[in-house]
């Protein structure tokens, strides 16, 4: 067990953590601003990857694929918000769960109808397919770049929420939607904007992850549930909580998969590694039922 190996695993965990953060921040913002629980968040992750794979196969331009996939996703998100989500803001969580579950079923089948059942492989951009020497570790350039991009996006979200007028409105309507509306802000448009924003964030995570995994129908489900675990641990509605939760989950996930099979033998170690983040969640819940940074409702 060399230091270099641990360092490499730490980089992997950091990268997974930042991807989970991009997803979890969307779950937490949608709940914080609109009291919405959106299970279809994982579908945005999946759809962006499919859009990207499709456009890049047609045009062979990574830039066009990025812009096209995210623009398509934003338009789709605005339409979904207007038609299906907006009537649900005032309804109870059960109906939000069911309607967004319906969306998952539709999107999972739609991508299979359009792009087939076989996994779609997304090529790595040529410039980024090499390795960078970090000390004595050869680390894939692509993973390094997406880590950097995720950090930049994370900082931009923080700036948007904490320092701009729009961010102020988002935070205010999280506290009291009715008062913000009474003060003359258009909370409907704000809701649509936030919904499109979180869809694009999930889309960015999906596109950046696509070359590392196979793009398949249902790929969003697993990511959705991981990001729910992040939000449960970090506390619903808290952006700092989403970051801390994402990094905790990612480190437990990556190091659990590496070390538990070594320590306990492959069978029970593998089983425990599969369950590790949920055990982490259970322990957090015993300690703080509403998450580390969460407030009881």
């Amino acid at each position: 067990m060399s230091i270099a190996f641990i360092a490499e695993q730490s980089f992997n965990a950091l990268q997974l953590g930042l991807m989970l953060f991009l997803m979890a921040v969307g779950v937490t913002l949608a709940f914080g601003t609109m009291r919405l629980i959106n299970l279809a968040h994982g579908s945005f992750f999946m759809l962006a990857a499919y859009f990207y794979a499709w456009i890049i196969a047609k045009t062979e331009s990574g830039f066009a694929a990025w812009i096209g996939a995210l623009a398509g996703l934003a338009v789709l998100a605005v339409v979904i918000e207007r038609v299906i989500i907006r009537p649900l803001y005032v309804r109870d969580h059960l109906e939000q769960v069911l309607a967004t579950f319906g969306l998952i079923l539709i999107f999972n089948d739609l991508v299979m109808m359009i792009w087939g059942r076989d996994p779609v492989y997304v090529p790595l951009p040529d410039v980024l397919s090499g390795h960078v020497m970090l000390g004595e570790i050869a680390y894939p350039t692509y993973r390094l770049v997406i880590t950097a991009v995720a950090i930049i996006i994370g900082l931009s979200i923080w700036y948007l929420i904490a320092r701009t007028r729009t961010g102020g409105l988002i935070r205010a309507s999280a506290d009291n939607r009715a008062v913000v509306q009474a003060l003359g802000a258009n909370v409907d448009r704000l809701g649509a904007g936030v919904f499109a924003l979180v869809a694009v964030l999930a889309g960015i995570a999906g596109i950046m992850t696509a070359p590392l995994i196979a793009v398949t129908s249902g790929m969003g489900d697993a990511v959705l549930i991981q990001s729910l675990v992040v939000v449960i641990i970090g506390g619903l509605g808290s952006i700092v909580g989403a970051l801390v939760g994402a990094l905790l989950v990612a480190f437990v996930e990556v190091f659990g998969r590496t070390f538990l099979p070594m320590a306990l033998g492959s069978t029970s170690g593998f089983a425990l590694a599969n369950m590790a983040i949920y055990l982490l969640m259970a322990m957090t819940l015993i300690w703080r039922p509403f998450g580390i940074f969460g407030k009881p409702q």
């Binding site: 709940f31 629980i37 299906i84 009537p87 649900l88 309804r91 969580h93 059960l94 109906e95 769960v97 069911l98 309607a99 579950f101 319906g102 969306l103 998952i104 079923l105 539709i106 999972n108 089948d109 739609l110 299979m112 109808m113 489900d221 549930i225 729910l228 675990v229 939000v231 449960i232 619903l236 069978t267 593998f270 089983a271 590694a273 599969n274 369950m275 949920y278 055990l279 969640m281 259970a282 819940l285 015993i286 039922p289 509403f290 998450g291 969460g294 009881p296 409702q297």
Partner: protein, 312 residues
């Protein structure tokens, strides 16, 4: 509690009785298997309704209890234990224990937290089962034998269906009895106004935990029966979170808070899936459209819509 007018309720009972009698007399293997599935999923949907309709909690994790019931039955069958009078209580007991532990943690919260936590814990069982090579891992495994009851085999689909129907009716009657006992009234009081019920000396947490645990036991029982019906168990079929969501869909397709509404919902849901899957492989998409239409357009469930038609 929402109550349906007498004619509708009598109508449902008559249709159900006629269906059971007709199936017992003339049912072939296919229809008996399908009817058994409706009874089993109806039982699981009743379990969800106990928590949803009476305690007012949205559980997105009932697949865990269903799956534990099925997996314990299957694992015991693999090592040669098939006597239902021993295996079934053990399997239901395991599901009950799982519900007690998950409930104890999840019930410290309410609302969205409760939904997400039950979902996440169920997913823990899913990934756990995926990583058990002794039980087939992600591919699942085939049960070598059906359970027997007191040495009597259940291989005749007619006997198996009648057993499922009998158990479903027994659970419905027991749950209905409990809902009119102090337990049911206090549970609804805690649902409608938690602060007042706590002030009247009701222990909301323990009450909800009791309801959640009973519900888990019922779902586990459904899992036991399901393992015996299909003789095949895989994480994706008995522990998937889609199953949990589908159970919620069944409950709201009928009517939450009536128990038998969950069975009606299960029958509607499974029939719908059966019909659509004859025409296309992408039946899930149409189920999704139906669910969204139900939430946005009908709002109260099909039985309430039926009541509106009858009473106006």
């Amino acid at each position: 509690m929402t109550k349906l007018p007498l004619p509708i309720r009598v109508g449902i009972i008559c249709i159900a009785a006629a269906a059971i009698a007709a199936l017992a007399a003339f049912g072939d293997q296919t229809s008996l298997r399908f009817a058994s599935r409706i009874a089993i999923m109806g039982l699981a949907a009743v379990a969800v309704d106990v928590v949803l309709g009476y305690a007012g909690l949205v559980s997105l994790g009932h697949a865990a209890f269903f799956g534990v019931g099925a997996y314990v039955t299957g694992a015991l069958a693999l090592i040669g234990h098939t006597e239902g009078l021993i295996v079934w209580p053990v399997a239901v007991g395991a599901a009950t224990l799982a519900a007690l532990v998950i409930g104890a943690l999840a019930l410290r919260t309410t609302g969205v937290y409760f939904i997400m936590i039950t979902l996440a814990f169920a997913q823990m069982f899913y990934y756990g089962a995926n990583a058990m090579p002794g039980l087939g891992g992600a591919d699942g495994f085939r049960l070598p034998f059906r359970s027997t009851i007191g040495g009597m085999p259940l291989d005749d689909p007619r006997i198996f269906f009648l057993l499922c129907a009998f158990l479903l009716i027994a659970v419905l009657l027991l749950a209905r009895r409990a809902s009119f006992a102090a337990f049911g009234y206090t549970l609804r009081a805690a649902r409608d106004d938690a602060i007042r019920s706590a002030a009247s000396g009701i222990e909301n947490y323990w009450l909800r935990l009791a309801a959640f645990t009973i519900s888990g036991a019922i779902a586990g029982f459904a899992g036991v029966l399901s393992a015996n019906l299909t003789l095949y168990i895989a994480p994706s079929s008995v522990l998937s979170w889609h199953l949990s969501a589908e159970l919620l869909v069944m409950v709201i397709l009928g009517m939450a808070g009536t128990l038998y509404g969950a069975v009606v919902g299960a029958a509607i849901f499974l029939t719908l899936v059966e019909i659509i899957s004859h025409y296309t492989d992408f039946w899930a998409m149409y189920v999704g459209i139906a669910v969204i239409a139900r939430v946005l357009l009908i709002r109260d469930g099909l039985l309430v819509a039926l009541r509106r038609l009858v009473t106006t």
